[in-house]
Symmetry: C2
Subunit: 376 residues, 2 copies
C-alpha cells in the first residue's frame, strides 16, 4: 500500500505500508546484504539509527545460509530479529556482478557461486521461491541488470526477456503468497524498468510493465557506468511513464546529491551500500561535506564528527577517538563510522521530507545537492 500525501513540484511526500509497519517516503533503505549490516551493526542498532526499511540480498542468502533454512527458522524477520519492513532484491544484480556467469537463456541464468563455485540456476520462479522463503515485505522482480555501455540490440532483446520474466514472476509470486505455509502472504512484488540509457527502450519497457498494475516500480540498471547527467536524464524521461499512485524506487543510488536530485524528479525509494562502505574507509558524511577521519588534523580534535549531528556516535565520541580507532585497527572504528553514516542518510531523508512538507524542497536542493557530496 502506498499513498502520496503531498507534492512539492515533482518531489513527493508519501507513506508506504505493509504488515511490518509504515515507512515515510522518500525513504532510504539500509542495506543488510547477508542479514546483517556491515561493520557489526545489529537490528537493534538499525532501530536507533532511524532505519525504516531494511534491504537484504536474495543471492547472498540463497547461497548462505540458504533460504529454505531461513524459512524453517521462521523467515528473515525472525532470523535477523528485525520486525520492520524488509525488501529483498531479486538476485539479478549480484548474479551479473559477483557470480561467475555461465549462460542466460529464456529459462533463466546459470552461474557459479562466488563463495564455493557451486553451480546454481536461477530464473523468475526460483527468485520468487527464494524471496517467498525469506518472507520479505517487498520482493523485487527477477531481471537482467545490463552494464553500461551496451549495444542497442542487446539491450532491446534483454528488455523484452526481462518483461517476459516479469510476467512469470507475477504468476509465481502470487501463487507462492497464497500457499498455506507462506511466510509472508501479503508480500508485494515490485517490477523493475531496464533499458540502459536508450530512451525509447526505457519508455517502451516502462509502459509495458506499468500495465501490469504491480504494487511498486523500480528503475534498475543505473549507477552502473553512466554519467550523473545520463542518470538524471534517464530518471526524468522514464518517470513520466511510471504510475503516479505507486512507489518509485531508484535502485542502488547513491550519494546524498544523487538522492536529492532523484527526489526532485519524483523518486520515493532508495538504497545504496555507499554510507556503509564509505564509513568503513573512514569517509564520513557531514552537513558541510565528506571528511576523511583518518586525516592527521583530527588527531587532537575533541569535537564530534559533526557538531549538528544527533546520532548516537556524535553524542558520545570525538573525532580524535574515532581516528585513533581507525589507526589502531579496532573493529569499533568501522561500527561507529557506519552508524554515523547510516544515521546521516536516514536523517537526510527526514530533512528532505520536512522540506517537501514545507514547500521548500527546491531551496533545500540548491543548498545541499552539491555541498553534501564534496570532500572537505
Amino acid at each position: 500500500m502506498f499513498s502520496v500525501i503531498k507534492t512539492d513540484n515533482k518531489a513527493r511526500l508519501g507513506e508506504f505500508s505493509c504488515s511490518h509497519g509504515v515507512a515515510k517516503t522518500p525513504v532510504f533503505m539500509n542495506v543488510g546484504t547477508q542479514a546483517a549490516i556491515k561493520g557489526g551493526l545489529s537490528a537493534e542498532d538499525l532501530k536507533k539509527l532511524g532505519c525504516q526499511i531494511e534491504l537484504s540480498n536474495t543471492y547472498h542468502l540463497h547461497i548462505r545460509p540458504g533460504d529454505e533454512i531461513i524459512k524453517k527458522l521462521g523467515g528473515l524477520h525472525k532470523f535477523m530479529s528485525w520486525d520492520g519492513p524488509i525488501l529483498t532484491d531479486s538476485g539479478g544484480f549480484q548474479i551479473f556482478s559477483l557470480a561467475k556467469l555461465r549462460s542466460i537463456t529464456e529459462e533463466g541464468v546459470s552461474f557459479n557461486s562466488h563463495v564455493d563455485g557451486r553451480s546454481i540456476f536461477m530464473g523468475p520462479e526460483q527468485s520468487m521461491q527464494i524471496q517467498a522463503n525469506l518472507g520479505s515485505d517487498i520482493a523485487m522482480a527477477f531481471d537482467e541488470c545490463i552494464k553500461i555501455p551496451a549495444e542497442y540490440s542487446y539491450v532491446k532483446d534483454s528488455c523484452d526477456r526481462t518483461y517476459r520474466w516479469l510476467l512469470r514472476c507475477k504468476d509465481s509470486q502470487s501463487k507462492l503468497a497464497s500457499e498455506k505455509d507462506a511466510v509472508n502472504p501479503v508480500q508485494q512484488l515490485f517490477g523493475i524498468n531496464q533499458g540502459g540509457i536508450y530512451t525509447d527502450l526505457r519508455i517502451e519497457h516502462m509502459k509495458k510493465i506499468a500495465e501490469l498494475d504491480l504494487p511498486g516500480y523500480a528503475i534498475g540498471g543505473l549507477a552502473v557506468g553512466e554519467t550523473a547527467t545520463q542518470m538524471y536524464d534517464t530518471i526524468e524521461t522514464v518517470i513520466e511513464y511510471m504510475p503516479t499512485e505507486k512507489p518509485r524506487y531508484l535502485m542502488g543510488v547513491g550519494t546524498p546529491g544523487n538522492i536529492i536530485e532523484a527526489v526532485s524528479r519524483g523518486v520515493d525509494f532508495f538504497d545504496c551500500v555507499m554510507p556503509a562502505r564509505n564509513g568503513r574507509h573512514g569517509h564520513l558524511f557531514t552537513n558541510e561535506g565528506i571528511i576523511n577521519i583518518k586525516n592527521k588534523k583530527y588527531e587532537m580534535d575533541n569535537s564530534p564528527i559533526s557538531k549538528e549531528c544527533n546520532c548516537p556516535v556524535c553524542k558520545s565520541h570525538s573525532r580524535a577517538y574515532i581516528r585513533h580507532l581507525f589507526k589502531a585497527k579496532e573493529a569499533l572504528a568501522l561500527r561507529l563510522a557506519v552508524m554515523h553514516n547510516l544515521w546521516f542518510y536516514n536523517n537526510l531523508m527526514e530533512q528532505i521530507r520536512l522540506a517537501i512538507s514545507e514547500n521548500r524542497f527546491d531551496e533545500f536542493k540548491k543548498e545541499n545537492s552539491l555541498k553534501l557530496d564534496k570532500r572537505i
Copy 2:
C-alpha cells in the same frame, strides 16, 4: 578505598571505590587494550554488559595514539567515553611479551615498538608518567614479568629489581598525582608480586611490598606457562602474606574455573582477554560448558546461545543466526560473541558474590569450577 564486607571461608565479598564509582568484588575487569573492546564494542555496550571496571594497556596507548595526546584530550575516561573505574597495567607485561626487547637495566627496559619498530625506553618513572597522563583510577607498578620456567637466580635478581622499581614507582606516582594539572589526583597505585613458582621468593617479595602500605596488591607472572596446580599453589601460598584489608588482584587469569578456584583462595580482582578472544573464535560460554557456535549442529537451532542467559544477545538472537554470521564472515558475529562472553563473565562474578553472601560458595565451586571450563 577497599573494604571486605563478608567472608565465606577464604572467599571475600568486598567493595572497591574510587572517584569514578564503586565496584563490588570479586570483580572481573573487562579488557579494552587500545581504549576499545575487541569485536567492535563501545563503552555504552560495556555498561549494558554489567562491566564494573575497564582495563586498558599503558604500552599500547603510549605507542598509539600517545598518552600525552590523551592527556590533552582530557584523559582516558573522556577519550573513550567510559565514566566508570579504569585500571591501567604498567606496560611491563606487553614489553616482555609483544615488543622486541633490547635490554633490561637497573634504570628500566629498552625495546622496539611492535607497531613501527620505534625505540622506546620505559622504567618506573616513565610508566607512572604514562599512567598519570591517562588518568586511570588504578595504576599498576612497573615490573618484570618473568616467563615460567626460569632459573632461580634470575628470578631472585629480577624480584629484587622489581622491588626497587616499586619504590621508585611509589615516589613517582605520588609526585605526579599531586601536580596541579594531574588528570586524576586520586589515582591509586597497586604493587605486583613476582617470584615465578619459587615459593620462598614469592613470600619474601610479598612481605617486602606489603610493608609499603599500597592501596592494593596484585599477583603477577602467573598463567604464563605453569600448570593450574602450580598456579593455585602459588596463590594459596602468597595470599597468606597479602594484607587482608587491601584488594588482591590476580593478573591475566583466566577461565571461569580458574577464577572460581582463585576466589576460593581469597582473590578479589581479575582480568583476562579470554572471553573476548574465545568469543572471536566462536567459543561461547554457557552454564553447561563451552560451545563452538560454528558447529554444523547449530545451523537450524532457533534457541539462544544459552537458555538461562539474560544477556542482550541471548534475548534477541538465535544460535542459527550467530552461526550464519560467523560462516558469512560478518563483523556482527564477533560483536555478538564478545558481548555474550563478557556478559557471561560479569554475570559469573555476580553469581560468585551471591554465593559468598549466602555462605554457599564452596557448594557453588564444586558445582561449577570444572563444568564451566568443559568444551561441550
